[in-house]
C-alpha cells in the first residue's frame, strides 16, 4: 500500500506558513557573487526581532535559486507585499526592513525602472521581463529555498511521483510524455517520449537499466540547467525518478560539471533529504520501487555533454564520443540500456504528469510543444534567464522581454544555440523560436544560449571566437573535427588579420561542409554552423575584410589604423604622453605623428585627445 502523501504535504505547508513574512533573496551564483549571502544574513538577523506590519507575526529570510533577472541582481522579492527590489546592496537592507516591512512604505529607489516608460514598477508580474514569460521548468526557481525539502513539498513536490507510483503503470507514463510532445531540451530536440519508449523496450542482458541526467552544461554563457539544479533540485530528482519508474531503471547518475559547486552541493543535500523522506532510495513511498541517484562530477570538457562521451566519462574512460548506433537506449552506460535526458527536459516531467499532456501540448507551437529556457546575454538591456513558450518570436524576446538593444544601438545579429548554433539577422526577427524553424534558418535551439549583437560587433570575429571555442573543445578523436576546426580557425584568423585571399574563403566554406558532413559526433557536425550561417548572411563583411582589408565594425585590430588629423591637431602632446608604447612624437604646437610600426592600436590616444583630432580608420 502506497504511503499517503497528504499528511506530508500538510506538515510541509504548515512549516512554510510558520515562516511568516517570506523575504526571498536570490542566492543563485550571479547574485551570490554580488554579495547576496551577506544580505540573507542581514535579513536573518532582523528576522529574529522584527515584527512586520500586517497579519504576519514574524519574518523569515529565504535564500532561493536564481530568479533569472541577473542583470538586476541582487533581487529581493517579498511576495506577500507584492514587491520586487532590484540591485539591492547590503546597505539597503535596513531601509527595506524599516521603511517597508515595518513601516509599510515601499522603497521606491530600489524598484525596477522600466526603460521604456522610465516608471518604477513595484510588482514582479508587471515587470516586462517576467510578464512575457511562461515558466514551467523554472516555475519554482526563486520561490523556494532549495535546501529545505518541505518548501518543495509545499509546492506539490513529489506529488507527480506519488501519482505515478500509485497508478503503477509505466507504459501510461511513457504515453503521457509521448502525448505531451516534449522534445529534448539539451539541443537535439529528439522526442523525449520516443527515447523513453526505446529504452523501456530495450532488453538488458542483466535486467539493469540506467537513467542519466546530462547536467554538463558547457555552452559559453548558458546557465539554464545550473539554475534548475541550484534553484529547484527536487523537481529534477522527481523527474528522474519518474523516468526510472517508466523505463524500469533503479539507478541513475547526474553528470554535473565540477565548475558548478553550488549545484553539486544543493543536489547532494536534496538527494539526502529526499532519501530521508522515502522519495528516493529503497522502497520509495512503500511501493517497492527503488531508485538511487549518484552524482558524477565532470572535469569541464565541453564534449562530455555529448551523450556517448558523457557515458564514457562516467565509466572512467577518456571522454570521447562513441559511434552511434548502438544508441544509449540499447547499449549505454556499462553496456546497459540507458536513458539520457537533459536537466531541463527532466524538470518538465513533474508538471506534465500533474497538469496533463494536453496542458503541455497546448503550450508552444505545432511541432515544438511547451516552453524553452534561454540564457539571454550580449548587447541587450535585460540580460538573464527566461522561459518562453516555443514559437515566441525573436522580436518579442529582444524587444519585449529583453528591453531592446543597449545604449540605443542598432540590432545586428543574434547567435542562437551556443557554439554549435548559428547567427540570425534582422530578417529573422519574426521567426518563431522552435526546433524546426531555427534549423531551417541555419541555427538551432541548442541548449538555449542567445547572444545579442549590435552594429559594433564584427561578424567574422564572432565566427572566429566560436571556432576557437570548438577547436579547443574538440576531443581530438575524428579527423574532420580535430584537424578541420583547427584549419577553419586558421583561415578565420587570417581573414581578421587581413591576410586572406578569396581562395581562402572558398576553402573555408568547402572545409565547413566536409566537417559538418564527416564528423563523428554532434560537436563536429555542428561546429561549422557559426561560420556557415554568417557566410550566408554576412558574406559581404567577410569580403570586405579580404578585399579591402577593412573591418566594417572597427573591431579587428590588425585592420585598424589610427591617424592624427593634422588640421585639427594643436600639438598639445597629451596623446604622446598617453601612448603606452611611445609611438607618438612631435613638436609642441605642431601636428604630432603616429609611428604605425610601433602603434599597438589600443586606442588610448583617441580618447585622450581634447580636440578629437585622432581617428580610427
Amino acid at each position: 500500500m502506497i504511503q499517503d502523501i497528504t499528511p506530508i504535504q500538510k506538515a510541509a505547508i504548515e512549516k512554510v506558513n510558520a515562516q511568516g513574512l517570506r523575504v526571498l533573496i536570490c542566492a543563485g551564483t550571479g547574485c551570490v557573487a554580488n554579495g547576496s549571502l551577506e544580505i540573507v544574513k542581514k535579513f536573518e538577523e532582523y528576522g529574529l526581532t522584527v515584527n512586520p506590519l500586517g497579519e504576519k507575526d514574524k519574518m523569515t529570510a529565504v535564500p532561493t535559486g536564481c530568479h533569472g533577472f541577473c542583470e538586476q541582481g541582487v533581487l529581493v522579492v517579498i511576495p506577500d507585499l507584492h514587491v520586487t527590489y532590484v540591485r539591492v546592496k547590503l546597505a539597503d537592507v535596513d531601509e527595506i526592513v524599516n521603511e517597508h516591512i515595518i513601516g509599510g512604505k515601499p522603497v521606491e529607489r530600489l524598484l525596477y525602472v522600466d526603460p521604456a516608460t522610465g516608471e518604477h514598477v513595484q510588482k514582479n508580474e508587471n515587470i516586462k521581463f517576467y510578464k512575457e514569460q511562461t515558466r514551467v521548468s523554472l516555475a519554482n526557481c526563486g520561490h523556494l529555498n532549495p535546501e529545505v525539502i518541505e518548501e518543495t513539498i509545499a509546492m506539490n513536490g513529489y506529488e507527480a511521483l506519488h501519482r505515478v507510483l500509485e497508478a503503477n503503470d509505466p507504459q501510461a507514463v511513457v504515453d503521457t510524455v509521448l502525448k505531451s510532445g516534449l522534445r529534448g531540451r539539451g539541443g537535439g530536440g529528439f522526442p523525449t517520449g520516443s527515447k523513453w519508449q526505446f529504452t523501456k523496450n530495450a532488453v538488458s542482458p542483466t535486467g539493469k537499466k540506467y537513467v542519466v541526467c546530462n547536467g554538463d552544461e558547457g555552452d559559453p554563457g548558458a546557465f539554464m540547467d545550473r539554475s534548475i539544479m541550484e534553484g529547484d533540485p527536487h523537481k529534477l530528482l522527481e523527474g528522474m525518478a519518474i523516468a526510472g519508474f517508466a523505463i524500469g531503471a533503479d539507478e541513475a547518475y547526474i553528470y554535473v560539471r565540477a565548475e558548478y559547486p553550488m549545484a553539486i552541493k544543493r543536489l547532494r543535500i536534496a538527494i539526502a533529504q529526499a532519501e530521508e523522506m522515502h522519495f528516493l532510495g529503497e522502497n520509495i513511498m512503500n511501493t517497492g520501487f527503488n531508485f538511487t541517484i549518484h552524482i558524477k562530477e565532470g572535469a569541464g570538457a565541453f564534449v562530455c555533454g555529448e551523450e556517448t562521451a558523457l557515458i564514457a566519462s562516467i565509466e572512467g574512460e577518456r571522454g570521447m564520443p562513441r559511434p552511434k548506433p548502438p544508441f544509449p537506449a540499447n547499449k549505454g552506460l556499462f553496456g546497459m540500456p540507458t536513458l539520457i535526458n537533459n536537466v531541463e527536459t527532466l524538470a518538465n516531467i513533474p508538471p506534465i504528469i500533474l497538469k496533463g499532456a494536453d496542458w503541455f501540448a497546448n503550450l508552444g507551437s505545432e511541432k515544438s510543444k511547451g516552453t524553452k529556457t534561454f540564457a539571454v546575454t550580449g548587447e541587450i538591456n535585460n540580460t538573464g534567464l527566461i522561459e518562453i513558450p516555443m514559437g515566441t518570436t525573436l522580436r518579442e524576446i529582444i524587444y519585449e522581454i529583453g528591453g531592446g538593444i543597449r545604449n540605443g544601438k542598432k540590432f545586428k545579429a543574434v547567435q542562437i544555440g551556443g557554439p554549435s548554433g548559428g547567427c540570425l539577422t534582422e530578417e529573422h526577427l519574426d521567426l518563431p523560436m522552435d526546433y524546426d524553424s531555427l534549423t531551417a534558418a541555419g541555427a538551432m535551439v541548442g541548449s538555449g544560449g542567445l547572444v545579442v549583437m549590435n552594429e559594433d560587433t564584427c561578424i567574422v570575429e564572432v565566427a572566429r571566437f566560436f571556432m576557437n571555442f570548438t577547436q579547443n573543445e574538440s576531443c581530438g578523436k575524428c579527423t574532420p573535427c580535430r584537424e578541420g576546426t583547427k584549419n577553419m580557425l586558421k583561415i578565420l584568423t587570417k581573414i581578421t588579420k587581413g591576410q586572406a585571399t578569396l581562395e581562402d574563403l572558398d576553402l573555408l566554406e568547402e572545409l565547413a561542409y566536409a566537417v559538418k558532413d564527416g564528423s563523428l559526433c554532434g560537436l563536429g557536425k555542428t561546429a561549422p554552423n557559426p561560420v556557415l550561417s554568417t557566410l550566408k548572411y554576412f558574406r559581404d563583411e567577410y569580403i570586405e575584410h579580404i578585399v579591402n582589408k577593412r573591418c566594417p565594425a572597427g573591431v579587428c585590430t590588425a585592420l585598424k589604423t589610427i591617424e592624427i588629423d593634422e588640421e585639427l591637431c594643436k600639438g598639445c602632446s597629451k596623446c604622446s604622453r598617453t601612448c603606452p608604447v611611445g609611438a607618438i612624437s612631435g613638436e609642441i604646437k605642431n601636428p604630432f605623428k603616429i609611428d604605425q610600426e610601433k602603434c599597438i592600436k589600443c586606442g588610448a590616444c583617441v580618447s585622450s585627445c581634447p580636440f578629437k583630432a585622432i581617428k580610427v580608420k
Binding site: 559511434p323 577547436q471 579547443n472 573543445e473 574538440s474 578523436k477 566537417v515
Partner: protein
C-alpha cells in the same frame, strides 16, 4: 536468415557481418580506412570509410561504414561526390599536419596514408603545413619500436591493440582537440614504460608513426667485414610470411629460397631456428616431467615468447619461478653456435662469430640485450632482423626470391622436424612438447601426431584448456594467445582455481605467424590462418619426422656434447634465469 540491402544499387545478402564495411568488402566494393582493424574495437575516428546511406523512407545520412550495423533494405552508396569530398578533405587535413618526408620514411611504399593520397589524387595541400619547428622529438629509446609522433594520424589503432591484445595500455591518448597526441603515459619514453616489445602497435599502424628499429645496415657491415664469420638462423614463422613481400601468397613456405637468399647475401653459414625448437622441446619436456614428478613450480610457463617473459617479470615478478628455464630457441642456437662452431669449423672463434637471427618478432630485438644472454660481456645473438628487414636486404641485394632455387640449410644446426615448424603458431609449442613428452614418459610413440584441439589462430585471443591422456595420466594444458588471456590464466593461478600443469603463452594474436615483425601493416584473421596452415602443412607433409626426439642432429648433439637433456652443460648453454626486476635484466638498453 540472410537479409538484403543494396550497395550502389546492387542487391546483396548479409547475415552476421559485424558492420557495413564488411558487407561492402565481401561484395566486391571497397572503401578506404585507417582506423578500422577487424580484430579491434570499431572506433569510427578517421572518417575515411564514410558512405551515404539511404533508408527505405528516403532519409539519407552520411555515416562511417565501419561502425554501422547492416540494416535490411538500406541503399549504401560508397562513391558519391559527397563522401569522396569528405575523404579527400580528411586526407588533405591529415597530410597538412604530417611530416611528409616520405622518401626517407621506413613505411614508404607500405604506407596507407601514402596509398590513399595517391588513389584520391591529392596533389596540393591547401591547408597550412605544420611548422617543422613544432615537430615532436622521435622516440628511439625502445629496443624494438621507433615512435615518430610527427607521422601519427591519431587513428588509435595502436592504443586499441595494446589495450585489447596485451591489456597493457602502454600507449594512450593525451590532450584535447588539435593538441591531441598518442603516446606513453605522461610523456614518458617508450623504454620507460612496461612495453613488452610485441610490436602489435606497429603492426596495426597505418603510417610511419610506429616503425621497427631497423638494423639492416649494421648486418651488412658485419657481412662486409672480412674478419667476421656471420652465421644466420631463421625462425619458423618467417618461412610462411616472407613470400608475401615478393608477390607470393600468404602461407606459401619459402624456406628453401630463404636459405638460398641468405647465401647469396653473403652469410657464411645458414641455420634454422627450427633445429633449436626441437632442442627446446627436449629440454623443456624433460624439465616439465621433472617438475611434475617433484610437484614444483607448476604450472610450467613456456618461455619462448620474450613479450610474455617480460610481462611476467614486470607485472608478476613473484611468478618467475613458473617460467621454464629454457632459453628461447633463438638464444639456444646462438649459444650453441658460439660454443660449437669454434670447435668444429675452421676460422671460427668465439670472438669473430656473429650470429644474426631472422625473426617474425620485434621483442626478440630486446631479448638479445638481456644480460643473462651474454657470455663474458659478449652477446649470444648479435642482431635480430625482422621478416620485414630481411625482405629489404634481399631486395637491395638484387635477389628475386620468387625465381631463385631452393637450397638446404647448413649442418650442424639445419635439421628439424615438423614439431619445430609448428612453434610458429599458437598451440604449436604445447603440441610439439606433448608429442615428445608422451615418448619420454611412456617410452612409446604417441598414436596420432595431430593434436588439433590445441590449434587455432582464427580468433585473435585464444584461451583453451586441453586435457591430454598420456596412457592414463591426465595432463592439463592451457594454451593462450595475447597477454589479455595470459593475465586471465595468471589470475586463475592466483585464485587457486587453475588445474592446468602447462601454460603456453604467445603474446601476439595467433602466435608468431602474426608477430610484430611480419610483413603487412594490417593484420587480418585470414592472413594468420593462411600462414598457420603453411606451417601445419610442412609439419604434416614435408618433414621426415614430426617429433623433436627423432631429429638426428639433436640426437647427435646430445651424444657428442650435451650428454642428455638438462645436463650440466645443457644448463650452461641452453637455460637461463629471470630477474624479478626487469631493469636488471637488460643490458645497454
Amino acid at each position: 536468415m540472410a537479409k538484403t540491402l543494396f550497395i550502389n544499387g546492387k542487391e546483396v545478402q548479409f547475415e552476421n557481418e559485424p558492420n557495413l564495411l564488411e558487407v561492402i568488402r565481401k561484395n566486391g566494393f571497397n572503401v578506404p580506412t585507417f582506423c578500422y582493424r577487424p580484430d579491434l574495437t570499431q572506433f569510427g575516428a578517421c572518417r575515411m570509410c564514410v558512405v551515404e546511406v539511404v533508408y527505405p523512407n528516403g532519409r539519407t545520412i552520411v555515416n562511417s561504414s565501419c561502425t554501422m550495423p547492416p540494416e535490411e533494405g538500406i541503399n549504401v552508396k560508397t562513391n558519391t561526390d559527397r563522401v569522396r569530398k569528405i575523404r579527400k578533405t580528411v586526407l588533405e587535413l591529415l597530410l597538412a599536419n604530417h611530416d611528409r618526408e616520405c622518401t626517407t620514411c621506413d613505411k614508404s611504399g607500405n604506407c596507407e596514408l601514402q596509398k590513399y593520397s595517391e588513389e584520391y589524387g591529392v596533389r596540393n595541400i591547401r591547408y597550412a603545413k605544420k611548422d617543422p619547428e613544432n615537430y615532436a622529438p622521435i622516440d628511439h629509446s625502445n629496443p624494438s619500436i621507433v615512435r615518430d609522433p610527427n607521422k601519427c594520424i591519431l587513428c588509435g589503432a595502436c592504443v586499441r591493440a595494446c589495450q585489447e591484445y596485451q591489456g597493457h595500455a602502454v600507449l594512450g591518448f593525451a590532450n584535447r582537440g588539435s593538441k591531441t597526441t598518442v603516446g606513453p603515459v605522461a610523456g614518458k619514453a617508450l623504454a620507460d614504460v612496461d612495453c613488452v616489445y610485441c610490436g602489435q602497435c606497429k603492426a596495426v599502424c597505418p603510417t610511419g608513426a610506429l616503425t621497427l628499429v631497423n638494423e639492416v645496415d649494421k648486418v651488412w657491415n658485419e657481412i662486409n667485414n672480412p674478419n667476421k664469420k656471420v652465421v644466420v638462423q631463421v625462425a619458423p614463422a618467417v618461412r610462411v610470411a616472407l613470400g608475401e613481400m615478393f608477390d607470393m601468397p600468404a602461407g606459401e613456405n619459402v624456406i628453401g629460397k630463404i636459405y638460398s637468399a641468405m647465401r647469396k647475401i653473403g652469410f657464411d653459414l645458414v641455420f634454422d631456428t627450427n633445429f633449436a625448437a626441437d632442442l627446446t622441446i627436449m629440454e623443456e619436456a624433460t624439465e616439465f616431467i621433472e617438475r611434475v614428478t617433484k610437484g614444483e613450480n607448476l604450472p610450467l610457463f613456456t618461455s619462448c615468447c620474450q613479450a610474455w617473459v617480460r610481462y611476467v617479470e614486470t607485472q608478476h615478478p613473484e611468478m618467475i619461478n613458473h617460467l621454464s628455464s629454457c632459453k628461447s630457441p633463438q638464444s639456444m642456437l646462438s649459444s650453441l653456435a658460439k660454443y660449437i662452431l669454434p670447435k668444429t669449423k675452421e676460422g671460427y672463434t668465439k670472438e669473430n662469430t656473429v650470429v644474426v637471427s631472422i625473426m617474425p618478432c620485434t621483442a626478440k630485438k630486446a631479448e638479445i640485450k638481456r644480460k643473462q644472454l651474454t657470455d663474458n660481456g659478449q652477446f649470444d645473438t648479435d642482431y635480430v632482423l625482422t621478416t620485414q628487414e630481411f625482405a629489404q636486404m634481399i631486395k637491395s641485394a638484387g635477389i628475386d626470391l620468387k625465381t631463385i632455387e631452393a637450397e638446404e640449410a647448413d649442418s650442424p644446426f639445419g635439421e628439424y622436424t615438423g614439431a619445430a615448424t609448428i612453434f610458429g603458431a599458437s598451440g604449436g609449442v604445447a603440441e610439439a612438447a606433448a608429442r615428445t613428452a608422451y615418448y619420454l614418459i611412456t617410452g612409446e610413440e604417441i598414436a596420432s601426431d595431430d593434436i588439433v584441439e590445441l590449434r587455432g589462430v582464427d580468433k585473435h585471443a585464444y584461451n583453451k584448456d586441453v586435457v591430454l591422456d598420456i596412457k592414463g595420466t591426465k595432463v592439463k594444458v592451457k594454451v593462450v594467445s595475447t597477454l589479455v588471456e595470459a593475465e586471465k590464466a595468471i589470475q586463475e593461478i592466483k585464485a587457486g582455481t587453475a588445474d592446468f600443469q602447462l601454460l603456453e603463452v604467445m603474446a601476439c594474436p595467433g602466435g608468431c605467424v602474426n608477430g610484430g615483425g611480419q610483413p603487412t601493416s594490417c593484420n587480418t584473421p585470414e592472413l594468420r590462418v593462411k600462414r598457420a596452415e603453411g606451417l601445419y602443412n610442412e609439419d604434416k607433409c614435408d618433414t621426415e619426422f614430426r617429433k623433436s626426439h627423432k631429429n638426428k642432429d639433436i640426437i647427435k648433439l646430445y651424444d657428442e656434447y650435451l650428454e642428455k637433456p638438462n645436463s650440466h652443460l645443457a644448463h650452461e648453454l641452453l637455460h637461463t634465469t629471470y630477474a624479478d626486476e626487469f631493469k636488471g635484466s637488460y643490458k645497454d638498453l
